[in-house]
């Protein structure tokens, strides 16, 4: 973005981990969990994994408009527990989140429960051991846990996203601590998300998508793709979903399928595109059902739906391509509907050097 942001302030503290945590918590510098003290040596070690100057401003983070310098991003990444080599992914995530279509200002301050879901694609998943499989949204993998957490800490400490002060989420959700997955590209029969979006399969990318908690769809029984995907569509179109009322504006919704389910579908000649079209066609409600409830009438109505006709069907997104399909998770045919506020779309950015050239490996930075 620009050169020369302010240097981070140094503090001298009692050396005990507990005292440091207490101080950070009292200052409002944490998400409530203990942090790794961002000592100078740890921050310097992390800064080895970038070719940018430590004072370079990557972005201004709203609502405070704080300057996210490379150094301050690294400090928050250390606090979150990131390994040094995670830094390029954290920087890329921030670059994605500040793109206007992401609507970070709205996402940081809304009553809606939106967490910054990061979807990692490409070889960096393997290098950083990003979980793409069993318990993909859950605990147990350092990369998933700490990369997502670093982004949250940056939103708090640089962006000023303070719960109940500027972050007005009515309920929030647990993914606001950390929300990061990898796509199971090797298990999927389909092009992964980043390839769909025009990136080389060998590129590493981060897609940021501000979303609600994943809503599980359990369908182990359906014998046809139509029945199976109808279970998913019914979850995506529920009457409390923002998208049900907001196909008149630009928004996206997402379905996460396991490799097992994706291959089962592909074996029955269901391409990703066919799945997407089916979900678009079935994740719809009639105007008569939607009228005067939920989010009815709070935003521009879709031009392509006659809202005076109770039988007219309203989709959850303006067009099929606004339904994202990602393959991730473990064994079984559970699906996860990951719904958004529908005021925002996802943004995908490649992990690159400062000059914009893609990296083959995060180790490129220290060679």
């Amino acid at each position: 973005m620009s050169e020369g942001g302010p240097a981070a302030r140094q503090v001298d503290l009692d050396a005990s981990a507990h005292a440091i945590y207490e101080h950070y918590y009292e200052q409002g510098w944490t998400d409530g969990l203990p942090i790794v003290p961002p000592t100078e040596d740890l921050v310097d070690a992390m800064l080895r994994y970038t070719d940018r100057d430590r004072t370079e401003v990557v972005a201004d983070i709203v609502p405070r408009g704080g300057q996210a310098t490379v150094e301050k991003i690294a400090i928050n990444a250390v606090m979150a527990g990131c390994r040094p080599e995670y830094l390029p992914v954290v920087i890329t995530a921030i670059e994605a989140m500040v793109e206007p279509p992401y609507n970070l200002y709205g996402r940081q301050t809304t009553t809606h429960p939106g967490g910054h879901l990061l979807i990692i694609n490409g070889p960096v998943r393997h290098e950083l051991e990003v979980n793409c499989h069993q318990n993909v949204f859950g605990q147990g993998w350092r990369a998933n846990a700490t990369i997502g957490r670093a982004v949250r800490l940056i939103c708090i400490n640089i962006g000023g996203g303070i719960p109940a002060v500027t972050d007005m989420a009515t309920h929030g959700h647990p993914g606001k601590y950390s929300y990061c997955i990898g796509e199971d590209e090797e298990g999927s029969p389909w092009d992964p998300l980043h390839v769909e979006r025009g990136f080389d399969p060998g590129a590493s990318t981060v897609t940021a998508f501000c979303a609600e908690a994943p809503h599980n769809v359990n369908d182990m029984v359906s014998k046809t793709p139509e029945m199976y995907l109808e279970s998913g569509a019914s979850t995506m179109r529920h009457l409390g979903a923002n998208g049900a009322y907001r196909s008149g504006i630009e928004g996206e919704q997402m379905m996460v399928l396991t490799a097992e389910a994706a291959n089962w579908l592909q074996e029955r000649d269901w391409s990703k595109e066919r799945v997407r079209l089916f979900l678009f066609d079935r994740a719809q409600n009639s105007v008569g059902v939607l009228r005067d409830r939920g989010g009815w009438g709070t935003v521009k109505q879709p031009d392509f739906v006659d809202i005076n006709d109770d039988e007219a069907m309203m989709p959850i997104v303006p067009r099929p391509e606004n339904i994202m399909i990602v393959v991730a998770g473990g064994f079984g045919r559970h699906m996860s509907a990951v719904l958004s506020a529908a005021y925002n779309v996802s943004v995908t950015k490649p992990v690159t050097r400062k000059d914009g050239s893609p990296i083959a490996s995060v180790e490129d930075f220290i060679r």
Binding site: P63, R64, T109, V165, T166
Partner: protein, 69 residues
């Protein structure tokens, strides 16, 4: 705030539960002078007449804010 920055006079209406938050956001954006009208909370699912009555009572404030520069 975006509209105001482009030169379009605005008045921001918030309910009292969001007033402190609204003021803080304007401060963060260095727009503390942004006109803001505070109405009662809640408004969701309240009788329309009651909401109209409360909002209408602020009509003069809205006009004053818009004309006040």
């Amino acid at each position: 705030m975006t509209l105001e920055r482009t030169g379009i006079p605005t008045v921001t209406v918030v309910t009292h539960s969001f007033a402190k938050y609204g003021r803080l956001l304007t401060k963060m954006q260095m727009m503390e002078q942004l006109p803001m009208i505070v109405i009662q909370h809640p408004i969701a699912a309240q009788p329309e007449e009651a909401v109209r009555e409360d909002v209408s009572s602020h009509y003069d404030e809205v006009i004053e804010a818009l004309l006040g520069g």
